[in-house]
Subunit: 156 residues, 2 copies
DNA sequence: ATAATTGGGTTGACCCGTCAATCTATTTAT
DNA sequence: ATAAATAGATTGACGGGTCAACCCAATTAT
């Protein structure tokens, strides 16, 4: 296995993907242990916890989470009695979302763990390193944002 | 939507996930347009292209790709006659993998596009920025590496 | 008033990623 | 020689993410 065997191997995107998947794994593990929730479930729970009474669409917008996935995972939370859904009396299309009592308890109990996890992550990085890192992410993201709305051509 | 609405929202991991998914989307789009391949298919094709005759296990090790996914996606490449599989005469468990002629053509034609994509990405970043970025990724990854083999407890 | 359009949500389909169970071929220990 | 352990690979199951089609309620245009 020489150095240049697989070109894909050293690619920046590839590295990103790996780190990301490990971060996911860590969060998933933590969430399952502490709250019995999946990552997506937690994300929705925390969105509702932080924005009680907000409608589904707005939450998906805030989180840039997919409508579909949101709908499906929300259902599991409702089935588990962690979230209460009510139809907006004015506009019957709109779902108003709130945590149930047990949902609130779970949220309050879990949030500190997740905050700590983030803090630990930040603590890893030296001063300025986080800024630089986020800056690069921003730069990439903005470029992609433009790029993705254009035809798939990166060739010369 | 105040500042502190959804705590999850500003988390570093979250930002990473978003960038990563956009990078994936871009690569997928490019690959579908240029080669009619999915991302995983391309990864395997390029692994084989760069390491002809190598057995499957080694390629999964190199790429840290999952055995399972590798096996499944490999099958699609074989079905499409892009990859040729032969059983090692010495050890009948081992699969020797090579590109077919058409696979080689596709590989040779697609690789430059993917390299250019990487180059474009790198070009985005200022001097040193890439190093710093990868450095942070490394730091995070190594920490996670240790963490993931330990019990799920981030609490104090 | 009615048709067309838009907005909110749901469902289906597909891809990626990980883990666990299984099957078979080989190797090792007895 | 045979049993147990191990290695290569396949398959199943689940979670996550994205896209597209669809359904229903509300709005807008005619």
């Amino acid at each position: 296995m020489s150095e240049e065997t697989a070109p894909v191997h050293r690619f920046l995107t590839y590295r990103l993907a790996r780190v990301q998947s490990k971060l996911n794994a860590q969060a998933s593990k933590l969430l399952r242990a502490k709250a019995g929730l999946s990552l997506a479930q937690w994300r929705i729970l925390s969105l509702i916890g932080g924005n009680p009474g907000t409608r589904a669409t707005d939450l998906t917008r805030i989180s840039t989470m997919d409508k579909g996935q949101f709908s499906r995972k929300l259902k599991t939370l409702v089935d588990d009695r962690l979230v209460v859904v009510s139809v907006d009396p004015q506009d019957h299309r709109i779902l108003r979302l709130r945590l149930s009592d047990s949902g609130q308890v779970l949220y309050d109990r879990t949030l500190p763990h997740m905050r700590k996890r983030q803090a630990d992550l930040k603590a890893l990085l030296g001063p300025g390193e986080e800024e630089a890192f986020l800056g690069v992410l921003d730069k990439i993201e903005q470029t992609l944002e433009r790029d993705l709305s254009r035809p798939a051509d990166a060739s010369g």
